[in-house]
Amino acid sequence: MPTGPEGSAGLLIIGSSQAGVQLAVSLRALGYEPPITLLGDENHRPYQRPALSKEFLQGAITKESLIYRTQEYWDEHRIRVVRNERIIRIDKRDDGSGVAHSMSGAEIAFDRLALTVGARARRLLVEGVDLPGVLYLRNADDALELKARVPMIKDVVVIGGGFIGIEAAASLNKMGRTVTLLEAGPRLVGRAVGAETSSYLLDHHRQHGIDVVLDADVRRIVGSGDRVAGVELADGRVVPAELVLIGVGVIPNTELAESIGLECDNGIRVDAHALASDGVTVAVGDVANLPNPVPGAPEGDRIRFESVNNAVEQAKVAAYAIVGRPEEYAGVPWFWSNQADLKLQIAGLSAGHDLTVVRQDEAKGKYSVLYYRGDAIIAADCVNAPLDFMAVKAAIASGAAIPPGEAADPAVQLKSISRNPS
C-alpha cells in the first residue's frame, strides 16, 4: 500500500471495475509512462460484473473467469492494483494533484485523479428490508451470497423489473425456483426499452413461469422469526418468499467528487473528453454525466449511461485526454441483457422517436423493434436477432437509411436494404 507523499501513486484511478480497468489498460496501450495506481474497495481482483446476474449466478462460469487480467499483466504493464481500500477523503490542489485518504488510514499521494467510482444499488425504503434473506445484487460479494442461498430456498421475490431484476429472475426461474417479479411501474424495463419490447418480454417471462406483477405497490417485507417470509403488497396480498432480491436502480457515487468541488448533477459532469469541471480530473463510466455521444444528438443534451460499452468507450477517450491527444467521444451506445434464453441487444437511444417498426419471426423466435425519428433510424431493441442489431448499429454509425416500409418484413435482411447517405 502506498503510504506517503514520497511515493506518489502517479495517476490514481479510484474504482477498479470496467471503467477503471479500461482506462489503465488504454493508457498503457497509448504509451503513457508515469505510474498508474488502480484502486478498488472490494477484496477481489478486478472483475467483470455483467455475468453476476446471469452466467455466474447459474453456475455456468466460475468467479475466476470474471477476472479481467492476470497479475502478470498488471506487473508487466506497471499498473499497481490496490484492493480493499475505500477512499473517504481527498485533498486536491488546483493542478489536479493531491492526497487521497482511505478508511484504513492510508494516505495516497497522486499526481492526477480519475474517478471511476460507479454507482451503488438504490435502497428500498420499506419495513423489513434489513431482514436476513433480503439481498441486493451489485457486486461479487452480493452474487456469492445470493448463489450460496439459492440451494436452500424455493420461493423468491424479485423487486424491480429493470435489467438486473429481470436477469436475476430469469436465472432463478431457470434454476427451478418459484419466482415472483414485482415491478412498480406499468411495464418492464420502462427506462431502457420501448413499450412493444416491454410487452414482448412480459409475455415471454410469464409463459416461462415467472409470476410478473406490474404496478406492484410494495408495502413491507414480512419476516417470520428472524428471517424473511414474504412481501406484502398494498392490496394486502402477501407473496411468500424465502429470499427477496431488490433491484430498483442505482445512485451514482458522486460524494467524493462533490467534496472536492467538482460539478455534479446526476453524476459527475464531464465534457466530451471525460474531463470534470476542474479541467484535469477525469470521470468515467456509470458515475459520469456526459454530453450525449450519439452523432447528431441535440446540442447540450447530456446523459449518464449504465453500460459496459460506455465505460469502455469513454475510458478510451479519457485516456487520450490524459496523454494529450484529445479526442471527442462519439459513438452509438449499445447494451445487452441475457434473460435465460432471451438475448436482448439494444443499439442506439430510442428517446425522441416518432415511429416504431416491429419485425417478428415467431417460428425462429426473433423479435426486433426499430425506432425512427423522421426518416432516420435511431435505435433498435433486438431479441435473439443479432443480425438486426448489427445492421442497425452499423446504419446509425454511418448515417445510413433503413426504409421503414421494407424493414417491416422480417424475411428481409436489414443489411440488404440499408442505404448509405448520398
Binding site: A29, P50, S65, Y68, W334, L387
Partner: protein, 106 residues
C-alpha cells in the same frame, strides 16, 4: 499445457499458455493480447472477439452454433471461411491453436 498462438494483422505472433476450460477469448483478454476487445465478456453479444482460425486447426474445432454464425456476419472486418468468435472456442487438453486477429474489432 495447451497453447494458443495469436498473430495480429501485421504478422506479429504471441504464444500464450492456456487453461483447459477457458475460452480462447478469455485467455487472450486475461493476458492482454491486443486485438481482442471482447466488450461483452463472452456472452455472445458484441462480435468483438472475431478471429481467423488457422486452416489446419479449423476442422478440429466443434462447429459453431447458429447465434455465433449470425453474429459473425456483423463483425467489423468481413468474415472468412475460417472465422470464429473466440469466446465460443473452449481450450481443450493438448490444444495447440493458431488464430489471427483482424485489423479491427470495432
Amino acid at each position: 499445457m495447451p497453447t494458443i498462438t495469436y498473430t495480429d494483422a501485421t504478422g506479429s505472433a504471441r504464444v500464450v499458455e492456456a487453461n483447459v476450460g477457458d475460452s480462447v477469448m478469455e485467455t487472450a483478454v486475461r493476458n492482454g493480447v491486443p486485438g481482442i476487445v471482447a466488450e461483452c465478456g463472452g456472452s455472445l453479444s458484441c462480435a468483438t472477439c472475431h478471429v481467423f482460425v488457422d486452416e489446419a486447426d479449423f476442422a478440429a474445432l466443434p462447429p459453431m452454433e447458429e447465434m455465433e454464425d449470425e453474429m459473425l456476419w456483423g463483425a467489423a472486418v468481413e468474415r472468412q471461411d475460417t472465422s470464429r468468435l473466440c469466446c465460443q472456442i473452449k481450450v481443450t487438453d493438448g490444444m495447440d491453436l493458431h488464430v489471427t486477429t483482424p485489423e479491427t474489432q470495432v
